[in-house]
Amino acid sequence: MLSQLTDRDWLWIAAEFYLVGFLIGVWSLMRGGKPSNVIMNAIIFAGYLIQLTGLYFRGMAVGGCPLGNTFELFQFTAWSATTLYLVVGVAFRSSILGFFTASLSATLTLTSLLIPAWDTTRRENIFGGNTWIEFHAAFALFSYGVFALLALTAAMLLLRNYSLKHKRLGGWFSFLPSIMDLDLISVRLLGTGVSIMTISLAVGSMYWIRDTESVNAFKLILTVAIWAAYALALSMRLRGKLISSRFAWTCIILFVIALASLGPVNSSRPPEPPAIGS
């Protein structure tokens, strides 16, 4: 029976796991309790493995990293954010970050699945058989996953700041980590994201120099602008010029812009061939 599942079926199941994580979190918080670390991490991990299976089948079908349309870009971003959460977030002693991660992954994966137009066509052979270009694209998307997790910790920082400023400390606000802990992890995520994106752009630029026609100006400007904005935010944060809620808002707004740019960047590529039938 499992062998009859398509890649989209696997990705639907994964999205439902993330949704269950989100709903359990909401239920726990509404009852005045904290979502269980064990349950939340188990659900996220199960969703992650199932999503990995779906992406693997899609990758096998398309003969490379599945980054050929907006649907795949959203799925890969959600998967990257979950990967990072499972690597660093679990040690962050906050099941509420798990709840936020489940919410983000459910949103990204369900949105991509509920808009069929995003997956009707895809570009084939987008990397031209060049593994370095594939590496560049996968790394760039992975950095978006890091920025997604950063947006979550930034949102938590804003909520913690709000609760302390407005003296509303009860309920689920009490489950949020401290301001300093959230700030520290946010700075680390920002540094990681910028580093990964820098490597990705460095690899990409080497091929772009050889063939400047391979990437159109719109994609180039938008991608470099996002990288520059994140790098500037990191620089300002390290110099103490961008702190507290302004820093958090910047991280959230930049991620929204980065996410919104995925579609236009993808559609700015040359015309796409017909749909795949996986």
Partner: protein, 349 residues
């Protein structure tokens, strides 16, 4: 009293607590370590007292035991009053005296913090454990008390885990420390400036110290008082006039002076924030009239709490605990019933 009642061995609690005995009375009833030893020896010589344990805290003196007759309990009361030089008639007015199931239920309530002055406090649990351990060392416990105390510990843990009776701090000083945890996480690297050498400031500083806070500096308008308090707290003293210049060096500022107006202005905090990079600043104003300009709270990365704010949080936490009492009592009654049935069987042996 019938002859059968007179002869029946029973579990009892005899004592006095904060519920009926005011502080000045409890002071007279408080048993010193030496007096405790003497009392223990005297009680051990009562042939009809099978088992006993003495719980002696600042809020209660209680004798838990298994007595063969009612007269035994009267003898304990007599011996205790004699030793403390306290009138038996007076003691009877404030006396707590319960038997059997009620005694079990009482122990479970006390161990769970339900009978405490500060509902839900957990210190009493440790005090009961100590009292029981002491009784065990002196071999004054037996099959009934061993069972009852051990099960009482389990029940208290169950109540604490499954209800919100211990959640949230209920004292102003501890609320302030909890808030600092919400801002800084671990407090070991935090630097605290105590402005004012009064009692409330000292209490708050001690609460910070008990939760592992880093260094403490004391500044007072009277340098000598600052130095005295600093030496008590193992802290350092700072001349009061230098407070603004050094504001940036501290993460937590606790103000409790009797100054007529504000001693920390918005401009001073703004200036301090410039050299603090991203590290937040937590200001606690325990003074009336207030020591800190209230507009400081509007500055970014700065958190200002005054006495009313902290008292309101403590009050909310207290209400939350009180709303859990019925749930706790239900658990305790269920457990006490089961435990009493087991104890009754042992009493008949």
């Amino acid at each position: 009293m019938s002859a059968s009642e007179e002869q029946r061995a029973g579990l009892f609690v005899l004592g006095a607590t904060h519920h009926s005995a005011p502080l000045e009375v409890r002071e007279k009833l408080s048993v010193s370590e030496t007096a405790n030893e003497q009392l223990h020896t005297k009680l051990s010589n009562l042939g009809t007292l099978r088992e006993f344990s003495i719980l002696n805290t600042c809020n209660r003196i209680e004798f838990y035991g298994v007595a063969e007759t009612e007269e035994t309990i009267h003898q304990i009361q007599r011996l205790f009053c004699e030793q403390q030089g306290f009138g038996e008639d007076e003691f009877e007015k404030i006396r707590l005296s319960v038997r059997d199931f009620d005694a079990v239920q009482h122990l479970l309530s006390v161990a769970s913090g339900l009978d405490s002055q500060l509902i839900g406090e957990t210190e009493i649990f440790g005090q009961i454990k100590d009292a029981y351990a002491q009784a065990q060392r002196r071999q004054s416990t037996g099959p009934v008390l061993n069972r009852v105390f051990q099960k009482a510990f389990h029940a208290a843990k169950h109540v604490r885990t499954n209800t919100a009776i211990t959640s949230g701090q209920v004292s102003v000083a501890n609320v302030a420390v909890d808030l600092a945890n919400s801002i800084f996480g671990d407090l070991k690297d935090t630097r605290i400036l105590l402005l004012g050498a009064g009692e409330i400031g000292e209490k708050t500083a001690r609460a910070f110290q008990s939760r592992g806070a880093g260094s403490i500096t004391v500044a007072s308008r009277h340098l000598e008082r600052a130095m005295n308090l600093a030496s008590t707290l193992d802290a350092t003293a700072l001349p009061f006039e230098l407070r603004d210049r050094h504001l940036a060096d501290f993460d937590i500022i606790v103000c409790s002076t009797a100054a007529p107006g504000s001693i920390i202005s918005v401009s001073a905090v703004k200036e301090a924030l410039k050299s603090r990079s991203a590290r937040p600043l937590f200001l606690i104003d325990l003074a009336v009239p207030r020591d800190i300009d209230f507009q400081v709270g509007d500055l970014p990365n700065t958190y200002l709490y005054n006495l009313d704010d902290l008292a309101a949080i403590a009050g909310e936490n207290r209400s939350a605990r009180e709303s859990e009492i019925a749930k706790c009592q239900q658990i305790i009654t269920e457990r006490a019933l089961t435990l009493w049935r087991q104890a009754e069987t042992r009493l008949r042996r």
